[in-house]
Symmetry: C2
Subunit: 189 residues, 2 copies
């Protein structure tokens, strides 16, 4: 049933992006990705449900990290304090190697409407999960929904700045700065 | 080539919802909708691109009304003043007969994941259009994005309350009240 393959997930990701860039996302098959990575299809499917998930699986990891940070926090904090904890925790998955992949990802997604839509749906799911985690902490319904939208906007603005920043710039300080700028604007809306 | 059919759009909508409720959204065909409405397929396609659009076309009308209200407003207003104008203008499409359809629509969409996703994508598109309209009025980038998210949340909360309200309750007062509640919470986030 095949040898153990070290870093097989990372190898599959790297192979997939190489192929997406060489021949286009639509024209690339799972079999080609596995072959390029020197692995078989079964190994691919142990890591990803389908080709699309090579692009989008990071969102699910992010959601887990973000929501877990809120759930683990002391109750009774202000909603934006929970948001700060979530954005700070996101730093663990927004590492320099992930930034390189994120840059390649932005280019692939820009050329494919279905991927853009799936990405927006993942964001909508993340927003709903953050709002639910905030309600669990006793935040009222409207404040939880509002803080979740604020969290997503801070995440997105932070992400946009991170992929344009220097290679070794960390994600969390950029996202937290975006959060502060958004809060400051909220008071003047 | 068919006679001129008065209210053919409304007749198609009513026939479609009758069929969706009787036999389910997935099992209903465009041919069946046209037949039930006493019209032909060609007439259906003059009004709707496909079956899905019977459910979702209202979002495009709403987007036009909302964005036009912002575009027509005097420049130099506060971002939330533009949002108020948009929500107030939305009242023109959120009429009592539309409320009845909206209630039936909520039930159909709840049973179909693809429709839920399309609805979320329409909301994401509406948010981006509102942000663009606000930027056109000179609102800065972050404030425009924040105000657009606030507008959508006020719209959604107002809509949730409207479909649960009395039959003759107007939409705009509920949406504007939701906006005020959200703004009040924003100051305390």
């Amino acid at each position: 049933m095949g040898r153990w393959a070290p870093n097989s997930r990372e190898r599959l990701e790297a192979a997939a992006f190489d192929l997406f860039e060489e021949r286009g996302y639509e024209s690339t098959t799972v079999a080609q990705i596995a072959e390029r990575a020197g692995l078989n299809r079964a190994t691919f499917f142990r890591h990803f449900a389908d080709k699309r998930e090579v692009i989008l699986a990071g969102e699910d990891v992010l959601e887990g990290v973000f929501v877990d940070a809120i759930s683990a926090a002391d109750p009774g904090s202000e909603p934006t304090e929970y948001v700060r904890l979530g954005l700070t925790a996101a730093d663990a998955v927004m590492t320099p190697p992930r930034r390189t992949l994120a840059l390649r990802r932005v280019a692939v997604v820009a050329g494919n409407e279905e991927l853009q839509e799936r990405g927006q749906l993942k964001f909508a799911h993340l927003t709903a999960s953050i709002a639910a985690a905030l309600r669990e902490k006793g935040v009222d319904e409207l404040s939880a929904r509002l803080a979740a939208e604020l969290a997503l906007l801070a995440f997105r603005v932070g992400f946009e700045r991170w992929v344009r920043a220097r290679e070794d710039d960390a994600f969390a300080p950029l996202a937290l700065a975006a959060l502060d700028e958004l809060r400051e604007r909220m008071l003047r809306l």
